[in-house]
Amino acid sequence: MKSKMKIKVSRKIIMAIIATTIAAVITGVLLFPVYWIITSSIKPYASLYTTRFELIPRQITFDAYNWVFFKSNFFLRLRNSLTVSILTTIFTLILVVPAAYAFSRFKFFGKDKLLYGYLAFTQFAGGLGITGLIALYAILAYLNLLNSLVVLAIIYAAGGVPFNTWLLKTYFDTIPKDFDEAALVDGASYLDVMWRILLPISKPGIATVAVFSFMGGWTEFIVAQTILNPENYTLPVELYRLMGQYETPWNQFAAMALLFAVPVVVMYMVAQKYLQAGLAMGGVKG
């Protein structure tokens, strides 16, 4: 009996070791590109072009970061990206919150068709590709709206409305309607119900929409490159411009790419607890 238990315990330990090893290898493979970018950003330019493989840099230098902060257009592009992303988030919330509230709480003519239409719209953007881009450019050129960060934010917000409305509407659905009804009986208007009751309870849902829309504005490249002129370029476009026709300063590229990722990482870490609740959309018990 004891020997059988011993065998069971040993088998468990062996399985745990194997599973942990496999997980560590996979994690290593997934994180290796991040590690490579970090080390590339602190290596001298020349060492990136040698044939010698350096897992741990022999020489460390912050020349690339020095170039990013003091010689490049990083801060100008950062300002443009922040402008676009923050405006995208604001526009998205302005459009999505009342829409999600209406879809979640009210019955109206065509509601179901519109809701499922939203789902269909989320598939259109990817599917139309170049055609959509050309049409968008033509419309903006005709209306003399090219090269505007505000217009770019509106485009991003519009693109995010279907998905984010669905996301927030589903979150609102988990909040019992008793709260709305109690507030209505207490003397609140529908706007009061949304503003004073639903929104404060919906912080996780709102945070999720805010992070998704911010990231959408922060990382988008194609539309930004198409409609913006050089003085208004955002960080993704500036990064792309670093790639030369004949050579690319990979250390400077790596440094700028890392700095480009930092705000998103910080935002996620700050909003993490809200994001987990918002994405899980667990049931709310009254």
Binding site: P176, F179, A182, A183, D186, A188, D192, I201
Partner: protein, 361 residues
């Protein structure tokens, strides 16, 4: 303070008729209970009065005002929900103050009124807590406070005690009744618990499948139920029912059941004259049956089970295929399987038309 009058109220959800042509009145300052099993339409009626549902037909009056087209906030009503619906992001103080804030009452006045209500409900020490920090009973008091602070014309309460444990429920029943009598506000209270209804109500409206069965005082409902449904719903344990038929023999009237016959008294026979051959249901409450000798017995059966409840014992007697419950004093005991004979006072007898369910006597 105001009476509430419903006239021919009908509410449908698709093909389902939740409330059917209902008319009733809650008198000014009275405590009216809407009682019935789940799905009988009682909550729908309450929500129609509150303005949270729109009736398909009929009229609702609060005081003398027709309120059908008024939104909830203009009906001067306050509601306590089954789930309490306390706003989770607000403290108890803010929850109670919310209705006053919506009505733009000055801050000092809000503070004064909230404190007053908190003292009445003994929750002054809880005002800084959030709902998740409150027990069930405390949350319920805060929900009550939110309703009371408004000084409305009508209270609407949707099963407010159903989430409490049994002991707290008994305590809160008395508290709620005391509060209503103190505040003298017309109250309409929904419950499926007949003990709540019988102990708290001035009048009870018994409902089944959206139809009003009987509107009466608790005593009237208990002693003179209008039909089989009311008779079977009110009373714990419920009324015993035995199917029988009225037969005439030698100028006397008998109730003939499967294994016994009951000769009716002259008074009862006079009432039931002309109804010979009618299929009926005999109703008799457990406390109105007595164990007697064979010579005095009207109904014969065998002891099936005994349920001691502390203050009394319920004895199940098998009479053919039917089980009849008899209530006895707590130390009364019988052997299982023993042959027994039962008798009762004819004044306590109920008779119902088997076909229509309506009370005959």
């Amino acid at each position: 303070m105001a009476k509430v009058v419903l006239k021919n109220l009908t509410k449908k959800f698709g093909k389902v008729v939740a409330v059917k042509n209902l008319s009733l009145e809650a008198k000014d300052r009275s405590f009216l209970v809407l009682l019935g099993p789940s799905g009988c339409g009682k909550t729908t009626i309450l929500r129609c009065i509150a303005g949270l549902e729109t009736p398909d037909e009929g009229e609702i009056y609060i005081g003398d005002k027709l309120v059908n087209d008024l939104p909830p906030k203009e009906r001067d009503i306050a509601m306590v929900f089954q789930s309490y619906a306390l706003y989770p992001h607000m403290t108890a103080f803010e929850n109670i103050a919310f209705p006053l804030k919506m009505r733009r009452v000055p801050k000092d006045e809000i503070k004064r009124r909230v404190k007053e209500v908190a003292e009445l409900l003994k929750i002054s020490h809880l005002l800084d807590r959030k709902p998740k920090q409150l027990s069930g009973g405390e949350a319920q008091r805060v929900a009550l406070g939110r309703a009371i602070v408004r000084e409305p014309k009508v209270f609407l309460m949707d099963e407010p005690l159903s989430n409490l444990d049994a002991k707290l429920r008994v305590y809160m029943r008395a508290e709620l009744k005391r509060l209503q009598q103190h505040l003298k506000i017309t109250t309409i209270y929904v419950t499926h618990d007949q003990i709540e209804a019988m102990t708290m109500a001035d009048e009870v409206a018994v409902l089944s499948q959206g139809v009003l069965q009987q509107l009466a005082t608790p005593d009237e409902l208990y002693n003179h139920p209008k039909n089989l449904f009311v008779a079977g719903f009110i009373g714990s344990p419920p009324m015993n029912f035995i199917t029988a038929s009225l037969k005439a023999k030698k100028e006397k009237l008998f109730l003939v059941a499967e294994n016994f016959e009951l000769e009716l008294t002259e008074d009862l026979a006079n009432i039931l004259k002309g109804k010979e051959g009618l299929e009926v249901v005999i109703g008799i409450r457990p406390e109105d049956l007595k164990f007697v000798n064979k010579s005095e017995g009207k109904i014969h059966g065998k002891v099936f089970m005994q349920e001691p409840l502390g203050s009394e014992v319920i004895i199940d007697i098998k009479v053919n295929d039917e089980l009849i419950k008899v209530k006895e004093s707590p130390d009364f005991r019988l052997e299982i399987g023993k042959d027994v004979w039962l008798s009762f006072d004819y004044n306590k007898l109920h008779l119902f038309d088997k076909k229509t369910g309506e009370a005959i006597i």
